[in-house]
Amino acid sequence: MILSQILENGFTQGLIFSLVVMSLSLSYRLLKFPDISIEGTFALSAAVFGVLVSNNNSFIIAATAALISCVVMGSMTAMLHHYLRINKFLSGILIVTASYSIIARVIGGSNVSLLDFNLSVQGLFLWILIAVGLSVTAFLFYHSVKGIQIRGSALNPELSRSLGYKTGGLLIAGLSFNNIFAGMSGIMFATDAGFSDLKIGQGILITALAALSIGEAIVPQRKVSLLLYCILSSFIGSIAYQILWAAALQFDIRPSDLKLLSALIVIALFLIRKKKDTGDEL
């Protein structure tokens, strides 16, 4: 594969995955909630979208239904943590575990094909439009009064309670909103790949972590607001990671070794970060 193809593939895949990275970043950095349920959200959204589209529903209807499922996933994670006092990680793990059974029921078989589904516009153009549109939406939302309340409540729950806020409701709103990005990423992936199955979510969390780690190493945190930092580092990190990935695939790597490669890239990035000693944990 020549360089231009590596860059093009990396850019396209980077855009598709940038939204799931942003979902992770917004929850973790902005709301201090490491929401690992995005792995299930990504796959469930792709499954719901795939099944509806393969049954001749329009893109808009299928995407809307898929995104509603993401909101449910986000809100369930928040509710498990807030109302049942389940640890943040465990809440996410429980939702991811449950989501596999739900996805299997939604798909009703091993996979669902989207090869007959054709977008009326060019994929890359639509992905740019969706990614930029959703980033602007995130920026405006988290600067609105409701967004400030969600951020403030997540960052300082004690003060939030003493100001009379219901912190549970705000956490549910925040994680539901953030999960929409992971879901949209799943929809874009299924459309681009032409299928959806039970396994497409596996490893997404590691991919998102690796991409975010690259992005955060590149974007200077002190020069932008935290919100802008989350958005920019997600985009830049995701595209950079996918270009690296596309380049790595040029070497004859067995498909079964790809997960190992992914983990090694993450470990290498953490080693680089450790040398830079940013003081921040990811």
Binding site: I148, Q149, G152, L155, N156, E158, S162, L163, L226
Partner: protein, 222 residues
């Protein structure tokens, strides 16, 4: 003499907790004079005497074992969070109790008073002399500026009872003076002040105008 319903009544309040099988008396049968609208009340005592625990009991951060605390004649445990904290605001030495470090100055004011207009927020920022820091994160402000922001939040929320737990203890004299001026201003606007401080000059000055000082030692008010 002010015969209105007291804004704060503290009667025989005890706070006990267990540690390694021993019962610790953080507060032991504490009562203070009723605090009425617009008054000052001071509390002094060595570290670990129970001063902050009393404030935590008022804000329901710790449960009281016996006794009662009333706000405007109503037991605080029968009030909703909203009802309680509409009237009370706590500012302590730790700025995280009253501001959010990761929000900007403007966002902190929006967060604490979401229904206020943009103009009111802007005026409040100017009033607290933080115009140049409007878009700065609260965590990047100096200690004094952050306490001024906290006082501004109390003013915007139309707090009735301001609990001050040594908020200016770590500040330089100039910032302490600014903070005290704003507290005086809030009091002139009708806010009741319950102040934990070791500032004897301030206490003496206020005692001349009828304020009272309580001293707490080993959980008991003496």
């Amino acid at each position: 003499m002010n015969y209105s319903t007291p804004i704060l009544t503290i009667r025989n309040v005890s706070v006990y907790y267990s540690k390694y099988g021993n019962t610790i008396k953080a507060l032991d049968n504490c009562s203070t004079r009723d605090l009425r609208s617009g008054e000052w009340l001071f509390l002094k005592g060595p570290n670990g005497a129970g001063k902050s625990t009393l404030f935590k009991a008022i804000t329901r951060t710790v449960n009281i074992s016996s006794g009662s605390i009333e706000l405007n004649g109503k037991n605080i445990h029968k009030l909703s969070n909203r009802e309680l904290f509409q009237k009370i605001f706590l500012i302590s030495q730790n700025p995280d109790t009253s501001t959010v470090g990761e929000l900007t100055v403007e966002e902190n004011l929006v967060f604490s008073s979401p229904r206020l207009s943009h103009t009111s927020i802007k005026n409040a920022i100017e009033y607290s002399q933080l115009s140049n820091h409007r878009h700065h994160l609260a965590k990047n402000l100096s200690g004094g500026q952050r306490q001024l922001l906290a006082l501004q939040i109390a003013r915007l929320r139309k707090t009735k009872l301001l609990l001050l737990d040594e908020p200016f203890a770590a500040l330089d004299p100039a910032n302490e003076k600014k903070g005290l001026e704003l507290v005086e201003q809030l009091n002139m606007d009708g806010v009741t002040i319950f102040f934990i401080t070791h500032d004897d000059d301030l206490i003496a000055k206020k005692q001349h105008s009828g304020s009272e000082l309580f001293t707490i030692l080993n959980g008991k008010i003496i």
